[in-house]
Symmetry: C3
Amino acid sequence: MKNTCTDELPLTMNSSERQETVCIFGTGDFGRSLGFKMLQCGYSVVFGSRNPRMSNMLPSGAEVLSYSEAAQKSDIIIVTIHREHYDFLTELTLVLNGKILVDVSNNLKINQYPESNAEYLAQLVPGTYVVKAFNTISAWALQSGALDASRQVFVCGNDSKAKQRVMDIVRTLGLTPLDQGSLTAASEIENYPLQLFPMWRFPFYLSAVLCIFFFFYCVIREVIFPYICEKKDATFRMAISIPNRIFPIAALILLALVYLPGVIAAILQLYRGTKYRRFPDWLDHWMLCRKQLGLVALGFAFLHVLYTLVIPIRYFVRWKLKNITITEMINNKGSPFITSSAWLSDSYVALGILGFFLFVLLGITSLPSVSNMVNWREFRFVQSKLGYLTLILCTAHTLVYGGKKFLSPSVLRWGLPSAYVLALIIPCTVLVIKFILIMPCIDKTLTRIRQGWERNSKMSSVLNGKTDI
Amino acid sequence: MKNTCTDELPLTMNSSERQETVCIFGTGDFGRSLGFKMLQCGYSVVFGSRNPRMSNMLPSGAEVLSYSEAAQKSDIIIVTIHREHYDFLTELTLVLNGKILVDVSNNLKINQYPESNAEYLAQLVPGTYVVKAFNTISAWALQSGALDASRQVFVCGNDSKAKQRVMDIVRTLGLTPLDQGSLTAASEIENYPLQLFPMWRFPFYLSAVLCIFFFFYCVIREVIFPYICEKKDATFRMAISIPNRIFPIAALILLALVYLPGVIAAILQLYRGTKYRRFPDWLDHWMLCRKQLGLVALGFAFLHVLYTLVIPIRYFVRWKLKNITITEMINNKGSPFITSSAWLSDSYVALGILGFFLFVLLGITSLPSVSNMVNWREFRFVQSKLGYLTLILCTAHTLVYGGKKFLSPSVLRWGLPSAYVLALIIPCTVLVIKFILIMPCIDKTLTRIRQGWERNSKMSSVLNGKTDI
Amino acid sequence: MKNTCTDELPLTMNSSERQETVCIFGTGDFGRSLGFKMLQCGYSVVFGSRNPRMSNMLPSGAEVLSYSEAAQKSDIIIVTIHREHYDFLTELTLVLNGKILVDVSNNLKINQYPESNAEYLAQLVPGTYVVKAFNTISAWALQSGALDASRQVFVCGNDSKAKQRVMDIVRTLGLTPLDQGSLTAASEIENYPLQLFPMWRFPFYLSAVLCIFFFFYCVIREVIFPYICEKKDATFRMAISIPNRIFPIAALILLALVYLPGVIAAILQLYRGTKYRRFPDWLDHWMLCRKQLGLVALGFAFLHVLYTLVIPIRYFVRWKLKNITITEMINNKGSPFITSSAWLSDSYVALGILGFFLFVLLGITSLPSVSNMVNWREFRFVQSKLGYLTLILCTAHTLVYGGKKFLSPSVLRWGLPSAYVLALIIPCTVLVIKFILIMPCIDKTLTRIRQGWERNSKMSSVLNGKTDI
């Protein structure tokens, strides 16, 4: 049972005990769905329509009247009408005076109008209490009760009492009202349903760029080079071998970029000797989308794992193994077992697995419902301590992978080093700086700064650092 | 700290500041647990019992009186007594007049009685405000504070004020009250704790049928056939090889069935020329359990991945590889490397991995806490766009798997094609129809219909499509 | 859009409609962040400071006055000052009389002071309503709106109305207030932010001990033994082979320990013939951290799966395969295919996969947001029925792994059996006892006991078992 009214009481027509009447202007799809649901939850509903006689398909149990008649029946009026047609409300100013108007409208594109629909409505019909609500809920969701998507209803308005009454209705419908403050919030609320993963854009584009760059880099080294120099057709590598180079590289770099801003911030604070100066905007934004960066990185890591585990199934690999065996056989010499190689290959794999494991842990703890159960200290512990451990393991994994042939000229092709070498630059930088930052002397200063101490002002240190929280 | 009172304040006995007194009828297990918790949260509790002297084990700090005495102490009375024994309350009608009776009872089977216990109670004791609540919480959870299961307390009642007071108590106990409307909701609420995954039943049975059918289908082709025709014992295939055919097939079919209803609905709307006619019930129900269908499919896909990745570890596979090598060796001819086969095997694997990756993404976004963070547009984007991409990738994965030997007579056994061929029917149908539906001309009509336009009625299109939301 | 005010309205300065004024004592980091946020949510904010002139960096739109002046402006005063400096408030007793003081302070270590800061404050300034709140929220989170960590604000206080007003503010700031009862809860609330996974400690240490023990056990058997007796250097096994013995063992034992307490509890109840006697504390605690035990076990299982799947990629394994083939080649005899071995290896793998699959299911259902959607019966079904099935599968997986060579002397080294043999002790015990417990006769008694029946007292059985819930 989803905790909505609809799912539960398909038949609960108003049992006339709860007297509250709500008026809905407009008999469109959303208006009807909302009315339907309100009836189910025990409200009595009056529809206001331009030509009541011609309104069809209204939920049974609802009354349909002209706008002005309907308005008189209730002191809460939900306006389910497109902004372009608000004008007719001006004629009703008298009837509407002192009533609560709920604006549910959405626009077609972000910031379509200079002011939000709700504010426009408020200007249009002075003397009413305009409340913005319900614009995040879809008609279909209301009807079917399949509120898989958000149950959250953002509410804002200038009159607390009016807002409170609307929030009560929202709650009764089994939805979650979220007070967003005064009506100036309306424009934000109206833009919200039009957003498409705004926080994910930067990580997404960034990873796209990384992938494309490294794809061509690898194609040059592993397809074009052998084709030209050895006349070998290695195109089939583009299906798995090359992606399986790109993904771990992207994962590692993105993971490092999660921790880079924190390091930069620390340096800035050390340099300025105070934490009371705002960071540049790009840094702020970067810090706010760290979570998304990390999750994208996790995605790449996941793909890398899968691509690696299928290696032995691949035709190419099986064929190669077979031929090696056969050739060795023919030359009649079995290769001896080299412990160091065993160590290298095993520890490289082990590091990778442990890194991935911690990475998954980080991902799980970033689930809203999980991070809601932990306190601030625990959250910091996981995201910072475990996070750095993950970064260290993954970097080590890559370093060991390089092993002996790390920068040996033999692997250079047209002077290009293997791709993973480039991937190591950022992570190593981050780790080195971090290592310097946690050295006692520096760490002490930083901690004091973060506790409010300021290098240049004794006074404020007295004020903030000492007595106040 | 789970956000319940118990966990936090094992010792907070009522510090006599909050005066509110609550009366509990019945000293059974649940009554005592509830009383215990209320005391912890600072209420003063009075138990009403048939023979107060003989009631043992009551939480310290609570008073025990006869029913009528206890009732006089508070205007909220929680009735923790089995429905069969409600009759004695009739004698108390006078004392109870105007008080709030909270019905916490549950039944042993769904719709055990003609009317809900709460409604029965209301008839029995007129002049009281009956509120249904707490029936979803277990005594053990209250005592131990281990509210791992739902914290949700469904509340319904005909009197808003009474309901509000009960909901305040629920909130104070660290639980989440959910207003379910008038008392007619009680029967639903009483049935809720007796449900066992109602939405999952259809997907579960469906997949069971699929598995059984394809199991026998594969056994015939891969165990019985070779046994009869080649006298080979291939029974061991039943442990891994055959399941690893069944699971991907089930996953693919179920995934396709997630998108089939949407396609059917679109066709219906196009045919009817309106969206304002209800779909047949089977379609509605199907649409509402799409999420469950998809998650079951994901489960099968997950199993398929694991079963595939262990292939190289299997004794059979290793033995086969070894023998191939040896035989080739003996015949003294290493097999040449065929690029096309490499391409085929690699791209087949790659498609599978990408499909599975997107599938996992879909699964994660269907977690309640995640889908709660996204707006309707984002949810649609993921579930529809990414969903279809997943379906395309998985279908392609299967098609490439077939590769050259797709329907070649060589693979027919007793005229039966390989199982995966059957698995492709539904997905391909869905994809083809969808492809037709998104062709500009058709898509345009569909969009207009979904915006409220109706083919046969100019009028309503004016009413709904244009002015109203 | 995270449902906080900040994220949404970076610019919503108070639009002077909502008149409520809040006073904040102290201009420290947290005070300013809180003030900033409140302004955004439409409150008017007055800061109280020791020397108002010298307070810098206050959010624009806020007033700064002396403590006493500021206090007069509002009847809610948020004290963002360290406990050590509360004394100055005594001078303000007159001004503060009858006002609400909100204590947001935290300590540096758990139970630092005999009484909680809030209670101390209440004693210090009699005649005020002290409410504890906001101590779980970090200044940075308030500023940036990046409330990834908990949104939960624990509120407690002795005066309901005062508490209610504070909870309204909390709600308006987009946070989730949780009423924790009277002020005695304050010490708990102040300790909360200092906790670091208290419930996880026992599982963590336990698994650490297990890992260390089995690590040395395996090192002795698989590294030292061959080194001494066969002069073979098997150290490289420590990277993967040995961890891949430890992890499954730890997983199996921990999983068994999840179900052991339940079994013990059942035995206790049968022995005592009643459920109305408390379990020993160690058992209670054990029962409450079962979830954590299970999740740690899942972690180990996950690692085991990864370590197993990479086997074919390892240098050692490839080298071995190759050599086996070559030697067989030389001796000119291909090994015959043994169906029984195929059965053994396949079914062993299959059991493991199915066990892991169910284990993952259990893990997912233990996610807060998921377990919140299921009712008590469903939760029990998953955690108990599926849980036991998982345990059975995993135990069988280990037993089959042993296969023929289970306890054959050949595998004994220095009389030590293989590690997995030890791992089987607890799981098998649990399963055997459980099997006995679910036998009709015993099960019947147990059920009756759990329904409230008591062996020794007819009376209470009448009281509890029969009439009351």
